[in-house]
């Protein structure tokens, strides 16, 4: 451990101690990293925790040579190093697994790993040699992967393994993992953690970027929390608690536990019967979805992304053709009806891609608030003209009651922050007093303050008797808000459970496709 010349099983020199000192990175108008100190030792996982824009990714991009720091130095084993490019980083034994995988889907695993490396018998490829080494590495670190499989055939978890192998193949002694669990099921996360522990035993160092508290607590030795580009503190993971970390991240207590009014079981306002629909690529995205959402209830739809959630929301709201099956709104069939009509019938939709599907970027705040209702009084007078005074008045009311923070009504919406744009969408959709609300990822990319606010509003709507279908990939959100939870997997509802009976374990199993037997499935049908 003390010998700096110790070699890793990959033959690479070990990084016993990597230190970043006083790192400063300025972007126009933003101080992304403000004199940050960070270090990681061999055989430990050092987690970087922080909200969006806290500077986690910036710091790691500096370490990997993607950004040049304005100030600060990097030391490896006590010696100062200059890292100007990813190539420098790799030469120094630093590897990075990006959040979005850098793989060529049409090439095989071996080809992807060999990409950009010198072959042992130039100019010919030496894929057999590469494959052999991949297999050795895979065995050593518990990374099962077939070197001859084309990447497009692999599941997300397998692709991540390829990325890790790629980094190890290039001699990474220190591995940076940028939000590695974002796309994984709980079981895949466990596999990943197994691999990481193996790597620690071999003497690798790992930097783990995340904002999922429980994962960070499960895998890390030390945790550094960043906020607004500054280091809030570094603490040992042992003894650390979630509330403590959350407090460090946001600077105040986060309540993900909400007071819920008991609502009587109402009638089913939204009912889906065996709905089928295609994805954009023409494959079957929904394969007979049957669901019902009752008045005064929030039905959470959980699932790993890309299992048909987006298609389901769009199919219900008339944005995607339903190839088979039926949708009912309060007993009335609405299959294939236009969004405009559904609006009139009392359905509101908060889409996932709010900048594209929910607002018009170049319109002002007021113009966006009156969308869809602009043909009706009070916004319109007669058949031709709009009523500027009524528009200003109504928009001011909505801005006030939904606490939308904007300089003025005439501000173009694109200059608002994500949280405020989402509040605006919410204000517009809820102002219509919907009876059925479809909320797809309502708090994605939204800061904690606005998230809390949006959650409160959804619960308020529930108390008013609205039937809400909450589609989210954030299990914490689903668990905090839902009365019942449905899990979607590959376009099918795997099961529906009451919130009281739901725990992360079973939901995780269901999200990975394990069907639940018994009464829950019966209830789903």
């Amino acid at each position: 451990m003390t010998e700096s010349s110790t070699l890793l099983p990959t033959g690479q020199r070990r990084i016993d101690h990597l230190e970043m000192r006083g790192i400063v990175k300025r972007f126009p108008g933003v101080l992304a990293a403000d004199h940050v100190d960070f270090d990681v030792k061999a055989g430990e996982v050092h987690a970087l925790l922080g909200e969006n824009g806290a500077g986690k990714s910036t710091l790691m991009k500096i370490l990997y040579g993607l950004y040049a720091p304005n100030e600060g130095e990097i030391y490896i084993n006590g010696k100062k190093v200059e890292i100007h490019s990813p190539a420098d980083a790799i030469a120094n034994g630093i590897g990075m697994v990006h959040q979005h995988f850098m793989l060529v889907p049409t090439l095989t695993v071996a080809e992807n790993v060999a990409l950009g490396l010198k072959s042992s018998r130039e100019p010919m490829l030496d894929l057999d040699v590469v494959s052999e080494r991949i297999v050795t590495l895979a065995e050593r670190y518990g990374l099962q992967v077939d070197p001859s499989a084309p990447v497009w055939q692999l599941a997300v978890g397998e692709r991540q393994r390829v990325e890790i192998i790629k980094a190890l193949y290039r001699g990474a002694a220190l591995l940076i993992l940028d939000e590695p669990t974002a796309v994984l099921t709980p079981q895949e996360v466990d596999d990943l953690f197994g691999t990481l522990r193996q790597m620690l035993d071999e003497g690798h160092g790992i930097i783990f970027i995340s904002h999922k508290l429980h994962e960070v607590l499960a895998i890390s030795n030390r945790i550094t929390v960043l906020r607004d580009g500054r280091r809030v503190g570094t603490i040992p993971a042992e003894g650390a608690t979630k509330p403590q970390l959350a407090r460090m991240m946001v600077g105040r207590e986060v309540i993900l536990q909400y007071e819920k009014v008991d609502m009587p079981h109402g009638e089913a306002l939204l009912r889906l019967e065996g709905v089928h629909a295609h994805s954009d690529r023409g494959t079957e995205a929904l394969r007979g979805v049957t669901l019902e959402v009752r008045a005064g209830e929030i039905l959470g739809l959980a699932g790993v992304s890309g299992n048909g959630q987006r298609e389901l929301a769009e199919a219900i709201f008339g944005l995607r053709p339903i190839t088979a099956g039926k949708v009912f709104l309060d007993g009335r069939e609405i299959t294939g009806k236009s969004p405009a009509l559904l609006n009139k019938l009392g359905m509101s939709y908060i889409p996932e891609e709010r900048m594209v599907d929910a607002v018009v970027k170049d319109f002002t705040v007021a113009e966006n608030l009156m969308l869809q209702d602009h043909v009706n009084p009070p916004y319109a007078v007669g058949k031709i003209f709009l009523n500027p005074r009524a528009i200003a008045q109504h928009c001011a009311e909505m801005i006030r009651s939904f606490n939308i923070r904007t300089p003025s009504q005439e501000t173009p919406i694109k200059s608002l922050s994500g949280g405020n744009i989402q509040k605006l969408v919410l204000a517009r959709e809820l102002a219509r007093e919907p009876r059925v609300l479809i909320a797809a990822q309502p708090t994605r990319g939204v800061d904690i303050g606005a998230t809390e606010y949006i959650h409160q509003r959804l619960l308020e709507q529930r108390a008013k008797g609205t039937a809400t279908l909450l589609i989210s990939e954030d299990l914490d959100e689903i668990l905090a808000l839902s009365d019942r939870i449905a899990v979607i997997y590959e376009g099918e509802i795997v099961g529906v459970v009451d919130r009281a009976d739901a725990d992360v374990e079973t939901l995780g199993l269901m999200m990975a496709g394990a069907k639940r037997q018994g009464e829950q499935v019966a209830e789903a049908v």
């Binding site: 108008g29 933003v30 979005h100 018009v360 970027k361 031709i384 709009l386 994605r444 939204v446």
Partner: protein
Amino acid sequence: MVGQRTPLPYWYVAPFLGGAGNVWWGVLLWALAGALITAALVRTRNRSLALGALVGALAGGVGGILLLSPLWFALIPLLERRCEACGALTSPTAAVCPRCGHDFTDAAWADWLVNALNHTARVIITLEMALIVGGLVLELSGKDALDTYRVLFEWGLGTQRARANSLLAATPLIFTGLGTALAFRAGIFNVGVEGSLYMGALAAAWVGFTFTALPGLALITLAFVAAGIAGGIWGLIPGYLKARLRVDEVVTTIMLNYVAIEFTSYMVQSGPFFVPGLANAMSPTIAEQARLPRLVARSQFNSSFFVALACVVVVIILMQRTKLGYELRLTGDNSLFARWSGVLVGATILRVMFLSGLFGGLAGAGQVLGVHYNFTARFSRGFGFDGLTIALLARNSPLGVLIGALLFGALRSGGSTIELFTDVPIDLVDIVQALIIFFVAIDLSLDFLARRKRAAREAEAQAQARA
């Protein structure tokens, strides 16, 4: 912490950066402009290019810094605002502090000022660049650029009559510019205003020489209405094809321009409006009382200019205060979303194409009733296409179209005399105009690049947020 500043969109200092950028690039460019102008000046006086370039570069550099420093030291601090939460300086148009994410809730007083400055500066710099490069072309071909521009200016704006002629030349451009801008704003690339103009002009002439019994005002109104309807219907054809059959409007409108030009020519050359004995292909002359009053002696400047001004007001109201305006802007920005919101996109396309053609028709009527008093085959000197350039330059703002049309009018009317007083061919004006389009295109694509960069940043932020 100290020294954190967010640059304003300093368009006026860095014309080639298309947004927030390094102010020194702006200084450099101004210096270059100064050098070119001074070099040309010194050369005409002393006949020495080397001396001219040297003095010019010096003078331009110093001048550029002098010009910029008051802007830099006096104006820009005024236009910045301080974030209440973290103290960072930000642009007054920002709604979120880029440093700490604090949301601003009070309106910035300088919003409109910054926007006005940006837009004016953009137009001025585009024209300036075109004139500079045009001057280079002249110098390279051995002509005297300064003298040419002097003639251009004098005959464009120098005398009352020159000014009247400039307004006269601007009149049809206001109409066609409005028509094009309206279609562009709705996301329809209507190149067919020229065709509508011909159809409208023919309709106006027909009314003018047919209903000769009517009194003046009624006849003029009827002629304008007929021209508007004729132009509008001509616009409806590609509109219908686009709305119903999704036929690309660029192709159809370009082709229909030829149809309109040839059809109207036929009508006066050998068709029903053919008048035996006239040397040129023209229709009969319109009735005396149908002629619009001329307002300035020895100029054809007439009251159709005020019709055009009224149309600017109408379009402003249409865009900002009516459902149709709202829906057409919605369609232009996000047509899929417009459809989801219950806007009948097809109907909107039809209405917009009718209006677009209508303004083209009015342009034709103005020319017939105010200038020619008959329909002459191929009378338009590309008014429809000038309107397209103007709409691009004005970024589809009605007020911008007015300003752009006035500028182009002066350029056209001054340019038409150039051949009389210099040995420079009139094509110079076309070159300058082409250069304007060129620089507008550069500006647009820079804008596009900046937007794309911003979008990439946003995507990255969103990806971070997602994980």
